[in-house]
């Protein structure tokens, strides 16, 4: 379905599911090391909410199940073997809300939905205030979503139609200006263009503009465009979409471009022969909000759309001199702050760990990626993303 884009396809031998993509969930692994799985077979199950499942990204043999501190699941690594085939699914028999939700849960697509606040997998019975589809990406060097969506328009439409029927809430497709997207199926589907810099492409910005989160415990759901296409693929072809479009960028990459890669592909294998400097920093994600990964996690994440390799990037792990530096307000901080947020008061509240103040200043609307530009622009060297997560975890406990 992406043939018209002429993307280079890279095959790798190993793929994985990463635990960090599903923060705060305790998983039961349904297979043991050495077992063979089909693509789309249920691989993980939430211990507390047993309807929530996560399916194998590709077919193959389970090579290793890596667990970290407190036996948290770090990764399930799979040695790929496409001959094992994939699980096929029947399309939902009717458009009843419960049937559709059950379909999403059984196929594991449900786990690509995220709530705001807190960015969790939504509860199967929850009702969102709205559903947001992020159909644009303003991160530097990210793949351009527009040609990808246009090439898979049938899949995209089928998935949107299903998603708009799983709740009574309006569904917003947030897209780049000039990208003509129309959906006639339902009055509840709204296409909204967003223009601007990095933050205009973040769900936090769309949520703030269209369905802001108050203090009454409401939530909205959001979902990325490639996950929507994956759902559409499942609906139209009966089998999971086994690939994702991932861009390779950064000044250490000899030939920056977009690639068609297996879901969860090993980053080390993808980067073989691509780097000009082997000591460069490899980031999962954009240079603004990318993370360095431990060796056992060097696989594409569920919501990851790019790999950045930066030459001479220094990792600032909070050394004594910089963590001691004060927060100096500047005009630059306002420029890169998420819309509707008073940057300096929120940053001060986060530094102090003042949970109530941070909530009042809009922390519930935010996620780590929204604050990444502030961490870059602030001279104090604080990582506001992880400070925000700490505050959100406390708020979640009290919710």
């Amino acid at each position: 379905m992406l043939e018209s884009l002429n993307l280079e396809t890279r095959n790798v031998s190993r793929t994985a599911l990463l635990g960090r993509d599903y923060r705060g969930v305790n998983f039961e692994v349904m297979y043991a090391e050495g077992d063979q799985v089909q693509a789309g077979a249920v691989l993980l199950r939430d211990v507390r909410r047993r309807d929530i499942r996560i399916c194998a990204p590709r077919a193959g043999k389970i090579e290793r199940i890596v667990r970290g501190p407190l036996r948290r699941l770090v990764a399930v690594q799979i040695e790929m073997d496409d001959d094992l085939g994939s699980v096929s699914h029947e399309n939902p028999s009717n458009q009843d809300r419960g049937t559709l939700r059950r379909f999403l849960l059984e196929t594991g697509v449900w786990s690509s939905l995220r709530t705001r606040p807190f960015d969790n997998i939504p509860h199967p019975d929850a009702e969102p205030g709205a559903i947001f589809i992020t159909a644009l990406d303003n991160a530097p060097m990210a793949p351009e979503p527009r040609p990808i969506i246009d090439a898979c328009l049938d899949e995209f439409r089928a998935a949107i139609a299903l998603l708009s029927a799983i709740s009574a809430a309006p569904l917003y497709v947030c897209h780049a200006p000039g990208h003509a997207l129309t959906f006639t199926e339902s009055a509840d589907i709204h296409c909204v263009p967003f223009s601007g810099g990095y933050s205009a492409g973040l769900p936090g910005t769309h949520i703030h503009a269209l369905c802001p989160i108050g203090f009454d415990g409401g939530e909205v759901w959001h979902l990325g465009y490639q996950d929507v296409i994956a759902l559409g693929h499942l609906l139209l072809h009966g089998a999971p979409w086994l690939q994702r479009v991932i861009s390779l960028g950064g000044n250490a990459v000899t030939n920056p471009r977009s690639l068609l890669l297996p879901v969860g592909a090993s980053i080390d294998e993808v980067l073989l022969g691509e780097l000009s400097d082997s000591r460069s920093a490899i980031l999962a994600g954009s240079p603004i909000y990318g993370r360095r990964l431990a060796a056992s996690e060097r696989f594409l994440g569920a919501r990851q759309r790019q790999i950045s390799a930066l030459e001479g990037a220094a990792v600032d792990a909070g050394d004594a001199a910089s963590s001691n530096a004060p927060l100096i307000p500047s005009e630059q901080l306002e420029r890169v702050a998420p819309p509707g947020i008073y940057a300096v008061p929120l940053m001060r509240a986060l530094q102090l760990g003042d949970v109530e103040r941070a909530r009042q200043l809009g922390a519930l609307e935010l996620d780590e990626e929204d604050l990444a530009p502030l961490s870059h622009a602030c001279v104090s060297g604080s990582d506001y993303g992880s400070l925000l997560r700490r505050v959100l975890e406390q708020l979640e406990g009290a919710h």
Partner: protein
Amino acid sequence: MSIKRSSGFFDGYRGLLGLRLLALLPVTVAALLNTGYQYLTRLVSNPDSVGDDVRSRIARALGAGYADAGVYDWLVAGLAHMLPMLALALVIGGLWEWLIARGRGQPMARGFVLTALLFTLLLPGAAPFYHIVFGISFAVLLGSAIFGGDGRTFLSPALLGIAIVQVSFPNISGAHPLWEGLAGYAGSNAIALFHRGGEAALAGAGIDLGSAFIGSVAGSMGTTSVLAVVIGAAMLLVTRVIAWRLLLAQVIGLIVVATLCNLLGEGSGASAMPGYWHLLLGSFAFGAVFLACDPVASCCTNPGRWIQGFLIGALVVLIRVVNANHPDAVIPAMLLASILAPLIDHAVIASNIRQRAGRHV
């Protein structure tokens, strides 16, 4: 853990400090030239007033001639006056910072360099040395260290230092040529001249729009040249260190209230002074850019910046109009607005929180 781009000269906290110092470079050069120029021209008109103080002796030793003085002579005479003052401010400020860093067991903060430079630029070239020791000690200790050092204070330390000196020695004056034309620490008596005789009095003292803009008039060393201040402001605005809203709001406040005074006032004294003279005379331009826009000591919300800026501009004009004894008014107006800044922010944030609470989801 966050990833930072490779650190250049102007990255991070030290870089920000360097940038703010660099933005003061045009002002410093203008201050050197004008201090020397003022000193030498006063000597020409009154050769007997040549003093026997350290600064005059250094100027003489460096060969600053007052007959047919050129740029070199101005520069040398300016250096002879400014360097000892700056050095003293740096040494005393640094000494306090060092003692405090030792006592707290922390690395020494570098913000005192900026404080010392700003403080020196706010002084007349003839300020007695003990005033400098007194003022910079207040600036570093009460303006910054007591709140935890750089970036954790709520007042601009240099502003506090100069305010303390102004309040403590209001009527200081002396035989030194650089006190001439100054009302003590009030910065410039050009506004007092306007009080008495309007624009004719300014013209009589040789002050026109051009000389007030370039800065070849008597005043505190760094505050006379609006041109140099504009260059420094441009650097700070382009690098997004200071908030343009706060700067613009100050100018708007000044012009609006000055125009109101022109229309409603009795038509004499400073109430008749047009807005552009308010902008050019005294230390408003310097204070607006380098003191009021101190990012740490001003409002940190955009509505708050508009309010604080307008307040400063309005207060400067009002004090100038009603109080002929304190013709400059910039330092007290900015001090008051700076003290109010957290309160203004508090009100703005409270209204933002109310709005957020009223949302539906």
